[in-house]
Every structure is written in C-alpha cells, then in structure tokens.
C-alpha cells in the first residue's frame, strides 16, 4: 500500500505563510485537493513532489522522505500545472525521453502504452509546440504514467481541457484509483473534484479546512446560498422566470449584460436552470459561479 503522509507541515516564503500546520494522509484511491486559488494547494503538491522543502514538519511516501530523495520518483508520477514542455520534441519523443530517464527496459513500448492510454496516438508525431492546451495536458499525463507509478500527483489537471477531454481524464483517474493507485489531484472547482474523488481534502488560506468523502463536503457546501453569473440570449425573460422559482433567492440584471443569480439551494437550482431556459426558449451561453461565491463557500467551510 502506498501512502503519502503529511505531518504538521508548514511552509513559508519569507514572512508569507503558504501552508500552515497541515497534516493529512493520502492513501490508495482518488483524492481531490480542493481550495480556491492561493490556498496553498500547489505548495503542498510541490512538497509531496519532492520539489520543495517543508519549513517545519515532514512529508513522506511510505515512510521515506520526499525531499532530496531521487529514488522516490520510481514510485511517483507528476503532472505539473505549468504548461512548459520540451516544445522542440514531438509528443512521442518527449514520452520516450521520460521513459529512458526512468531507466525502463523498453522505453519505446512503455511510451506507446502511455500514449495509447491517454489517446494521443494520432498526434504523437507532431511537435509539442503545435499542441493545444488540452493536448499538452495529456502528453504531460503520458509522461507521468510511462513508468507505471503507484502514486500520481496532478496539479490542476483539468485546466484548459474541453468537456470531452475532461470526461476522459476523469475516467482515467477513476480507473487508476480503482486499480489501487494513490491518485491526488488539485482543483478549485468542487464539481470537478466530486465527480472523481472518493476523498476530498479542502485547503483554505494555507490551512487544512475540511476532510471527508464528497457527500460530507457537499452537504457542508450546498446547504447555503451560492451565486452565479449567467450569460444568456434573453437575460430579462430568464431573470423573471428565475425569480418565480423557490430555489432562487434573487436575480439581478447586470449593467454590463448577464444575470447575477443567488440560489438558495444549489442542487435544485442546477436542475431548474436548464429546464427554465428550454421552456422559455433562452439560450445559455455561460454559467459561472462567481469568485466571491467560491470564496464564500470556503470561508463558510472554515467558519463551520
């Protein structure tokens, strides 16, 4: 069994505290690391990746330290958030190079397997500089999977992916979790996390704010009002229809276009909105939970 243990870890940069006395254990299965931007998720993942030393506390993988321990990467696969890759290589060359660096016996075959897993076989011979954001994300994924690691860490893996790619990656993560691998990914979007993760760890302002299965986190988050901004083809019509709904506490037309909605019951609102739009012949261009809303969800979580 592979387990990452974070024990009373803090990390500060000069006098800014990025991670504040966090303890958690990440075991087999898929774990979601949820939190708003700047919550310390990337810092925590960097420490779990052996790329950053903890200011205090320890981060270990099966009892072994992750910091200054290159051999740990035999078990560990990383998908960093940053997009930079070796742009002058083709996708396949990049994955083969990763396989060689791991010292695999047959780097070519391992690379082919990893590329097939993330469905990039068609584009593998194009240079990475021509790849879209989603393709880059997938080739990064292939490079992390090439040595068949028992632990996979992904920093904001769904950023920049289109819905189809997103669903595919979610399936892949679920499968890997079901295979008994320890998979951890970070995200600032609850809906993403709850669709994949069995276990959710919530970070807010550098602190470990909540921990549990998605049901528990969901209940904490949904029994409270949440705000959205909608861009539609008929703002006025949809706003008046929304106001008649019990799940909606308020709706306001924005001067710059769009509707600002405050839903009292998120679950019910998400069912009602598409139905209302269809019934009134209004096209929904965009539904965005507003940042304040997300922040308020987290501050709510911390204060509860």
């Amino acid at each position: 069994m592979t387990e990452i243990r974070i024990d009373h870890v803090s990390r500060w940069y000069r006098n800014v505290v990025a991670v504040n006395d966090v303890s958690m254990t990440i075991g087999p299965g898929v774990t979601g690391l949820l939190g708003p931007n700047g919550a310390g998720k990337s810092t925590l993942i960097a420490m779990m990746s052996g790329f950053l030393s903890a200011s205090t506390g320890t981060v270990t993988l099966d009892g072994e330290p992750l910091w200054r321990n290159e051999q740990i990467y035999r078990k560990l696969g990383l998908v960093p958030e940053r997009e930079a890759l070796f742009d002058y290589l083709t996708g396949r060359q990049f994955v083969v190079a990763n396989a060689e660096l791991h010292g695999l016996a047959d780097p070519g075959a391992a690379a082919q397997r990893a590329i097939a897993t993330i469905e990039m076989s068609d584009a593998q011979d194009r240079t990475i500089s021509t790849y879209s954001k989603g393709m880059r994300q997938r080739i990064k994924m292939a490079s992390a999977l090439v040595h068949d690691p028992s632990v996979l860490l992904l920093d904001e893996p769904f950023n920049g992916m289109d819905p189809r790619q997103r669903i595919h990656l979610m399936e892949l993560l679920r499968t890997m979790g079901a295979d008994g691998r320890t998979v951890l990914f970070s995200s600032h979007i609850l809906e993403e996390v709850e669709q994949v993760a069995r276990q959710i760890e919530v970070m807010v302002a550098g602190r470990h704010a909540a921990s549990g299965d998605f049901g528990a986190i969901r209940r904490l988050m949904t029994d409270r009002p949440s705000r959205f901004v909608l861009r539609t083809s008929g703002d006025r019509l949809l706003a008046s229809a929304l106001l008649a709904e019990p799940a909606v506490r308020g709706a306001r037309l924005r001067s710059e276009g769009g509707i600002e909605v405050e839903a009292s019951d998120f679950g019910r609102f998400s069912e009602v909105l598409p139905r209302l739009a269809r019934d009134h012949g209004v096209r929904l261009h965009e539904v965005t939970p507003t940042d304040e809303s997300l922040e308020s969800v987290f501050s709510y979580l911390v204060s509860s």
Partner: protein, 250 residues
C-alpha cells in the same frame, strides 16, 4: 570517448537522454544561431587580418587572444551553458528531468558535456583554424590557443552553470562578470591574473605556443586553478540542484 569512459563506471555520471535533449534544446532556440555566428566572426576577421597585414605574429596574437580568447570563447560558454539550464529553470520544464530517479550530478554533468561539446566545436576548433589562417607556418600557435580555449571554456561553463542555478539573471550577471572582471580589470590590474579564467588559459597558450600573454603565472597554478573551478563549479551546481526549490505558479 569521455562518454564511454563514464558509462563503464558504476553509478552513471552521464545520461545519453539528457545529452540528446540538451543538444536539441540548444539548436532549437535562437541561441543556437549565435553559436554559429561567433566563430564565423572570428574566422572572418582572421582572414581579413591575414589579408591586410600578412603573416604577422603580433596581429595573429592580438586577434586570437583579444578577440578569440577574451570575447568569443567566454561568450560561447555563456550561451551554451545558460541556454541549457536557464530556460528550463525559468519555465519549470526542468521538473521533467528532476522528477526522475537520476542523480542531480548526472543531470549537471550531462548538460555540461553538451556545453563542453559546444566549446570544442564552436570555440576550440575555430581557434585552431584561425591560428592556421593567421600563421600557417606556426601550427603550435593554433594548437596552443585551441587547448587554452578548451580548458578556459570548460571552466567558464562550470561557472555559468552555477550562476544559472543560483540566479534567474545568469546571462546578465555572466556578461557583467566577463566585461568588468575578465575584460576590463583583467587588462588593467595584473593581480587579477590569479583569479581570472582567461589568464589561466593564456598561461597554457604561453607554454604551448611559446608566447608571453600573461606574466608571472606558473603552469601548475593555471592547471590546478582551472581544474578546481571545473570540478567545484560542477559539484556545487549539482548540490544546489539537489536542494532546488521549484514551486508552481502560486
């Protein structure tokens, strides 16, 4: 040959993959073009000097030393070494090398091998050729400058590698160091010779070609000082990379 020697030993000091990636990365960027331009400038000027002043020892010496050894070779080392490390550190793609069960020293030695190859191909060999153009009758001159350039270039590579992992402004600091210390002060104050890579390599040239580019510096000192900088620079770079805090965008 160096590579095969190192493969034979126990813990691998060189990763062929990193060497290959390093070579591709240098020639995949605009810096690669500059590596071709610099030796062309040297060779072009050598042809011009030979054409204008004929086979003149002073002219040859000034061209090979003043232009080749003080300007071209350090610049080749700076471009090659910083091009191998700084961009990858800046954009974070070095994480794909660091997240592997490979010693940090292997990463650095492999990258420095590529830089050394650049110094040889774009620095030492053109110096030899320039020497033969300027004084065809005295091959020792070209050989001396080629050997001096190679040793000096390697020492510069080690210095610039260390700079690349210490600061994000490695190229600017490297240029200032070359200009102020090696170029300006090295020419004005004779005491600088004790701490100047260019003067150490000049001492090697003096011994091989029978010149007197630098006074009062012994050969053993020049060899040991250059060797120390190469070994210490490489070791310190690897050590720094081992404790390299690589953070995300947060």
């Amino acid at each position: 040959m160096l590579a095969s020697l190192c493969f034979a030993r126990g813990p691998r000091m060189i990763s062929p993959t990193i060497v290959r990636l390093g070579a591709l990365s240098i020639f995949g960027r605009w810096r690669g073009a500059l590596l071709f331009v610099l030796p062309l400038v040297l060779l072009g000027l050598s042809v011009l000097v030979r054409f204008l002043v004929g086979e003149d020892e002073t002219g040859a010496r000034n061209t090979l030393y003043g232009l080749g050894m003080v300007v071209i070779v350090p610049l080749i080392a700076l471009l090659a070494t910083s091009g191998l490390l700084a961009p990858e550190i800046d954009d974070g793609s070095i994480s794909y090398l660091l997240a592997k069960p490979i010693s940090r020293y292997t990463i650095i030695v492999s990258k420095l091998l590529v830089a050394a190859g650049c110094v040889l191909v774009f620095g030492a060999v053109p110096m030899l050729a320039a020497g033969l153009i300027l004084l065809p009758g005295t091959p020792a001159l070209g050989v001396g400058f080629a050997v001096g350039s190679l040793v000096g270039g390697l020492a510069y590579c080690a210095v610039f590698a260390l700079l690349s992992v210490l600061t994000r402004h490695a190229v600017v600091i490297g240029l200032i160091y070359l200009l102020i210390w090696e170029g300006l002060l090295g020419g004005l104050l004779s005491g600088v010779r004790w701490l100047s890579v260019t003067r150490w390599s000049a001492e090697l040239v003096d011994r091989i070609a029978g010149l007197s580019l630098v006074d009062n510096l012994s050969l053993p000192y020049a060899v040991i000082a250059s060797g120390t900088v190469i070994v210490a620079g490489t070791w310190l770079t690897g050590r720094r990379l081992r404790a390299f805090n690589l953070t995300g965008d947060e």
